[in-house]
Symmetry: C2
Subunit: 899 residues, 2 copies
């Protein structure tokens, strides 16, 4: 039940009417019986519904009652007044709670204490308010002290109540209490609140009361019932506080939902040696092993565990100390896991030998653990296959495929960039690709640190352990190449100032810059973007039988095919091993950056006329042909989509003065010739420049050479009995005329070659859809194309007007401020970019029903984006080889979500 803001008023009125004929406002839970259940989230809030559910399962949660979200609506509707009849209902439930707990609210000898918490239908962690220990006052605190035989505990609970109540209910600035606490600690000469003794706490209680008297509109109410009433006001009021409204705006949660209020008996684990508190997991969250796992601290409260002063015992020790409670816990954990059909993270407290479960929820786990638990639960019959597949976070699989920093290690983070390629790497700093290659030859391990990488750095990138750049985003050159290589990369670390000349890297920290130099050891965490000082300990990835089994299930379940982006036979082989069903993007330009080809490429660019260019291209052709032959052979029987030359020609020219000098010498041309060409080809916005099919149209001889290389390679393989399936892809098409012009050239040339060679091959011709205009005119283009491949990197750049190379200047801020929920280069923007994808698929298929449609941007390996691609009816996704397993799983999960 999601209600828009507009509907709130109406709903309020409807409830009001129902209210007047006796709607139930309050729901009880306790003693193995609750009036609600987990299906009633909209009415009882998430927390209230779960407490009811557990109670019904005979799980001993501290009893209590929930005031419904309907009351919240009425409360706002009636200008912050409770509806008539609520008070009577609350009193009745409170009486029942007293009876169940065997304590009385406000009883001087055996006082019942309660907590009051908000709980909305949708989780809003940390957004709304909580008050503990309600029911304490100057009289009952003594009763609690006596009963617990722990005066310090009682006064500590009391001062906490005053502090929370003062802050949350009476709106006294928190700083006043903090200041007083700080004074008390100073006076006692301790740094932790736990160092305060009972006298200090008594003094603090007095001070806190004075603070409240001075700053609040009313004094602290000694009457527990008044405390409760005011607390309800505060919790309902908190639904509309600034923080909560902002949170709901960012997360697009309806303001009309309202919150429920949960009142629950307090239980204490520090009532003596037969008391205690702990946390347990129904299976091992690190390994997934099916064994009860947890920690326990006797005579303690949860906050003692957090403070870290005492070391908890393994859960097994409880067996000896409190065998009855332990046995009960064991039977409960099994029941909870069976009920929720997932590994549970359980918080419990034992008060004077009586076990209470405070909370149970699905436990966080490592990827390894998640996979094992999912597979074993399926085998145990607890989950069906689709459910087991859904249980593993596909994105988390990255952990299984890369090395990582030991989670237990303490590290010093120097700076933070973008997590551009997952994994971890340790090595010494080098600033140039050449130097990287030199040092690696002498057996050293290096991290290549660059302002940004360019295709000329490929050699250094290949030998480095990891790559760090000061500029560039998630789809910058460094990031894309690193992911393709399965190599750790932190990109766009804008706090770094890199000076290649002096061989230094400065971490900018206002007022206290830190300088590192070549040879200094650093560690990169490509999964978080952290740059870490020195050598952090790494742990190796583990791939086991569980993940293999899970992926085989995924393969049977999914509809979407999964291909890989690969430019070399080596990568293609890797991709096949990871389960790729073809190459979705083979970039031909990387082949030109090889040392033996670059000079030819440059000769070609420096050519004055077409004839000269063609002669140089004739020399490059056999090299490209052999590249393609290699890849097509590895991918035998599977499609290989080859993209014609995409980057602007100036990327192949030298940049720095020295490079120009050296290239001029080796090519034996005047330096001025190179300089003038560099100047002539310079572009203000290369991303929007003379590249892609624009090059293929103005220099048709380049594309002709590539097409010849592809078709001849396929012919040679066909003769040798190899089933090669090239798909020629035209990049950056924005107008149908661009595409048809090049397609006509391809058709003509291919026919010519096939006739001359007398061979038959299977091949397709299609286009990238990466320019918004291509998506908007997809119908026209589809009429002449065998396939579409969405280049969602460039499409995202153009739809947002973001340069992936420059986004570091503002994207982090946008994410922090909630302007964007996610980096659109990591997860496809389904609202904007997705709208164009859907339009293009619809219009394309309308014109050509057998059109094959895929995606080859970086999004192909992002689970959410894969789900979108499934929904949008794409035929396949393509991603870097290392992400193929993720895509396989995500594609299977998408089928489940679709149902």
């Amino acid at each position: 039940m999601t209600i828009t803001v507009k509907g709130r008023k109406e709903r309020g009125r409807a409830l009001n009417r129902r209210g007047s004929v006796g709607t139930q406002y309050v729901y009880f839970f306790g003693e193995g019986k609750a009036e609600g259940n987990r299906g009633m989230k909209d009415l009882l809030g998430g927390k209230g519904a779960n407490l009811a559910e557990m109670t019904n399962l005979s799980v001993p949660v501290p009893p209590g009652f929930t005031i419904t979200t309907q009351v919240c609506a009425l409360y706002y509707e009636n200008k912050n007044r409770f509806p008539g009849g609520l008070d009577e209902e609350v009193q009745a439930h409170l009486a029942r709670l007293e009876q169940v707990m065997g304590k009385k609210f406000g009883d001087p000898r055996n006082p019942l204490l309660v907590s009051v918490r908000s709980g909305a239908p949708v989780s809003m962690p940390g957004m709304m308010d909580t008050i503990l220990n309600l029911g304490l006052n100057d009289v009952t605190v003594k009763g609690l002290a006596q009963r617990s035989r722990n005066e310090r505990f009682a006064y500590d609970a009391y001062r906490r109540l005053l502090q929370m109540f003062g802050d949350v209910v009476l709106k006294v600035e928190r700083a006043h209490f903090e200041e007083a606490l700080e004074g008390a600690r100073k006076k006692r000469g301790v740094t932790q609140d736990t160092g305060l003794v009972v006298e200090d706490l008594k003094e603090l209680v007095r001070t806190f009361k004075k603070i409240i008297a001075r700053h609040a509109a009313q004094p602290f109410p000694e009457d527990p019932r008044e405390q409760l009433r005011l607390a309800f006001h505060a919790v309902f009021g908190s639904w509309h506080n600034e923080r909560a409204i902002k949170y709901r705006n960012i997360h697009r949660i309806s303001h009309a939902l309202g919150t429920a209020v949960n009142t629950q008996a307090m239980v204490f684990g520090n009532m003596g040696s037969d008391s205690g508190t702990g946390v347990a997991f129904t299976r091992n969250p690190s390994t997934g092993e099916n064994r009860f796992y947890g920690e326990y601290l006797a005579n303690a409260q949860g906050e003692d565990v957090v403070a870290g002063i005492r070391t908890p015992q393994p859960i097994e020790s409880l067996k000896k100390e409190q065998p009855k409670a332990y046995a009960q816990l064991v039977s409960l954990y099994k029941k909870l896991e069976r009920h929720y059909k997932d590994m549970q993270d359980i918080e419990f407290t034992i008060e004077s030998g009586r076990l209470f479960i405070l909370q149970t929820r699905s436990g966080k786990r490592t990827a390894q653990s998640a996979v094992r638990i999912a597979v074993e639960m399926e085998e145990e019959g607890l989950l069906n296959r689709q459910a087991a597949l859904a249980r593993v976070d596909a994105g988390q699989l990255d952990q299984l495929l890369h090395r990582m920093i030991d989670p237990g290690a303490k590290v010093k983070v120097l700076a933070k960039g973008l997590p551009a390629s997952p994994g971890a790497a340790v090595g010494q700093i080098v600033f140039t690709a050449d130097r990287a290659e030199e040092l690696v030859e002498t057996g050293q391990k290096v991290i290549l640190v660059r302002q940004e990488t360019s295709p000329e750095d490929i050699g250094g990138m290949a030998v480095a352990e990891g790559i760090l750049t000061a500029r560039g985003g998630m789809t910058s050159h460094a990031a894309v190449v690193a992911r393709g290589m399965g190599k750790c990369c932190v990109a766009g670390c804008s706090d770094l100032v890199i000076d290649e000349k002096t061989g230094t890297m400065t971490v900018v920290v206002p007022g206290k810059d830190l300088q590192l130099k070549e040879g200094d050891p650093i560690t990169l965490n490509g999964s978080t973007g952290e740059v870490i000082d020195g050598q952090a300990p790494l742990i190796e990835p583990k791939l086991g039988s569980h993940i293999k089994k899970l992926l085989s299930w995924a393969d049977s379940a999914r509809r979407l095919r999964v291909r890989a982006n690969a430019d070399t036979p080596h990568d293609a082989k890797l991709a096949r091993e990871f389960g790729a069903e073809g190459i979705g993007l083979c970039r031909t330009e990387h082949m030109f950056f090889n040392e033996d080809r670059l000079p030819f490429m440059r000769q070609m660019i420096l050519s004055d006329e077409t004839g000269q260019r063609t002669r140089v291209l004739d020399k490059l052709m056999p090299m490209q042909r052999s590249d393609f032959k290699g890849i097509l052979e590895v991918m035998e029987g599977l499609p290989v989509t080859i993209r014609l030359l995409d980057p602007p020609l100036h990327e192949f020219l030298p940049r720095s003065e020295e490079e120009v000098h050296s290239v001029a010498r080796s090519m034996q041309v005047p330096r001025s010739k190179i300089e003038s060409m560099v100047k002539r080809l310079h572009e203000v916005n290369p991303m929007l420049g003379h590249r892609g099919c624009r090059l293929g149209i103005t220099y048709p001889e380049i594309y002709a050479m590539q097409v010849r290389a592809i078709i001849e390679a396929a012919c040679e393989l066909a003769r040798a009995g190899v089933d090669a399936r090239p798909e020629i892809m035209v990049p950056l098409v924005g107008h149908v005329n661009e595409y048809t012009r090049i397609r006509d050239m391809i058709s003509r040339l291919t026919q010519e070659i096939l006739e001359a060679k007398r061979v038959k091959i299977k091949f397709k011709v299609g286009t990238m859809i990466e320019v918004p205009r291509a998506a908007l005119t997809a119908g026209e283009i589809a009429a002449a194309a065998d396939f579409f491949s969405f280049g969602t990197n460039d499409l995202t750049q153009l739809v947002f007007g973001f340069s992936r190379d420059d986004i570091g200047q503002f994207l982090p801020f946008y994410l922090d401020a909630g302007i964007l929920a996610t980096d659109p280069f990591m997860s496809l923007d389904t609202i904007g970019v997705g709208q164009l994808v859907e339009l293009a698929v619809r219009e394309g298929r309308k014109r050509r029903p057998d059109l094959s449609v895929g995606i080859c941007g970086e999004h192909g390996g992002d689970p959410k984006s894969v789900e979108f691609c499934h929904r949008a009816g794409l035929d396949y996704v393509s991603c870097s080889p290392y992400r193929v397993p993720i895509a396989r799983l995500a594609a299977a999960q998408a089928v489940g979500k679709d149902r």
Copy 2:
């Protein structure tokens, strides 16, 4: 009747059936009576229908007959065979033609000659074939010679027939004939064909026949009827030649239309002194004066006029020489103008005292003439107002607003760039803005020549006569600023290599580069993009009462409002004078480039933290406030849309080493500080970078300063009784959250100021729609916006993925090759960009019916784009002040087209 390719076959069959029951294949025209009329274009083609129309008007056109487009369809349907019965119909019509002309086809003494021409329903100039002088052979040529008493004329006509027939019908390569002609000219020692004597022509006839015999499948047919039959085959065949197919593809003309074939009697103006030929206009095409105007050449053919060997006489001389023919011509021209309701351009020939009108069509005219003719025709009652408005090419009005090169002058074009800002300019070359200012102070006139201009060049641009850049497109900085200044500009002249250091500009011509240096005089033609050597003579613009009247009619007729883009009170005043109804785009950044502000702007950028930045901004605020006050005051009572800061901050920093040095000195900061900031702010693709609202979000204090300046300016004016109407516009929004964040800031701040000042003002807050994502999510954004303004420059860049700064590398090629029909930065791409505009208007208005929607890109001044804006339901267009009259007229014309 437009039929798709798919429908062709079916249609052919249908015709076949009708054919068999006696459809009419051939339509006669002649002797004041035609079987067709101008409504039958689909059947008779454009030319055939017009010939019929004129004949029916009793205009003496050479008689003839038209074979219908249905025959063309049947011809292709029947595998290139004519339908049965056609031949009989042709023979019957030929007999009628012989009778009308008093000559006989193939008659040795008095031969009838005919022309055969194609004529499709849609005009395809120069795309299909024509054959003249059919009916000549070795025998009839003698009859013609005798009859005309001009043997040279007869043999020249014969050799022309052979040449055309050989080329068009018999597919002999044209080069063979050219070669033979060249040989004949050499032999005779002349350079023109007109220098050949009769013997040469007789010899050529023999040679041409040999050429045909050698290269064609058959010899030249001496039988005139066979000539005619083969010519029909050739013309129908030409409908499917490669050139024609390509043309139709580019212009999206259906291949199924087919062509008609027109056979028409030849008439000759060189039959003696009672013969002649001429061209006349029904009104003066230069001035528009309502007086018959033309030229005449006695005893000559049209080609003699073209060859320019004899000087024609004014049309008045005909009155004396042939009073009867002249009187007939005068009565005809009046009839034709009344009939076609437009100034006519008439070609006529007098053969032996008998007047023939060869062609009449609407005459080309200057802007001045067009305006006068339209206004006077309305006053004469010939046209109604809407028709008069439609009669002037709105784009042509540019001519009335700028100086131009004397159309009669002979000029040497050095190179060609983009026609970035119309008009013409003469001056000496300078390479820097500073030098421009220096020289202008000494009274010289300069042309500022730059690689590309930047905001720092504004001073030099303002004083220069014209601006020439080697890089940048129609919406580059130079182009936009120049148009705003109404100053001539040629941009993106990529054949120039500019070396500021040596003070030279090289025009790259392979093998023979041309170097110019500072001080050399050049002339720019901003309307054509030509760069001309030396000083060309210029003529001044003339604005008269006619254009004023026409524009006042336009204002009453149009629905679309017209605003102007202006950044200063001076431009705003100009805009108001040109009829602007508000400012649609006031760019605030130009204000920061003033000499007195730039240092503050730089201080702000170099600030380490917000506080320091705010202090500098506090100094800039009063300056901005006074800028806004000035503009708002000039535009009293009209809306002024002010765009918050848009360009990336690095645009304000110095670039060259020297500039950095000098700025560091004057600001008293270390050079390294500036260098490191330049490095830090550098962007790979600034167009897609940290600019627009992205700046406003990361540096909210900048926008806050601007908002304060705007609102305070409006308040001060309101107090002084001035009705100021600011509209604050947020640039580069792509996500609704960007917009709402800034709008919230604006609302908060505005409320604060208005409460403090206790004034009420009218103001709006809205956003540019220039990022595709904004258009795709316009509904969400509209919920919080008072207005949308389409920034179609950036929207076009992003929808196409074109950088307007770099487009010169391939756009000229694209236009030449017909890949794009027009430059999308000049005329809005209605298919792609337009689709997003329409979507955004629809979704925006759905969410907010009172949303005001305009366009403020350069397209606002392009007539076709204005028409689109009208159709798309926009409220206004905004363009540079100099284009406001164009937009006013175009908006009125759009209303007429809409009906």
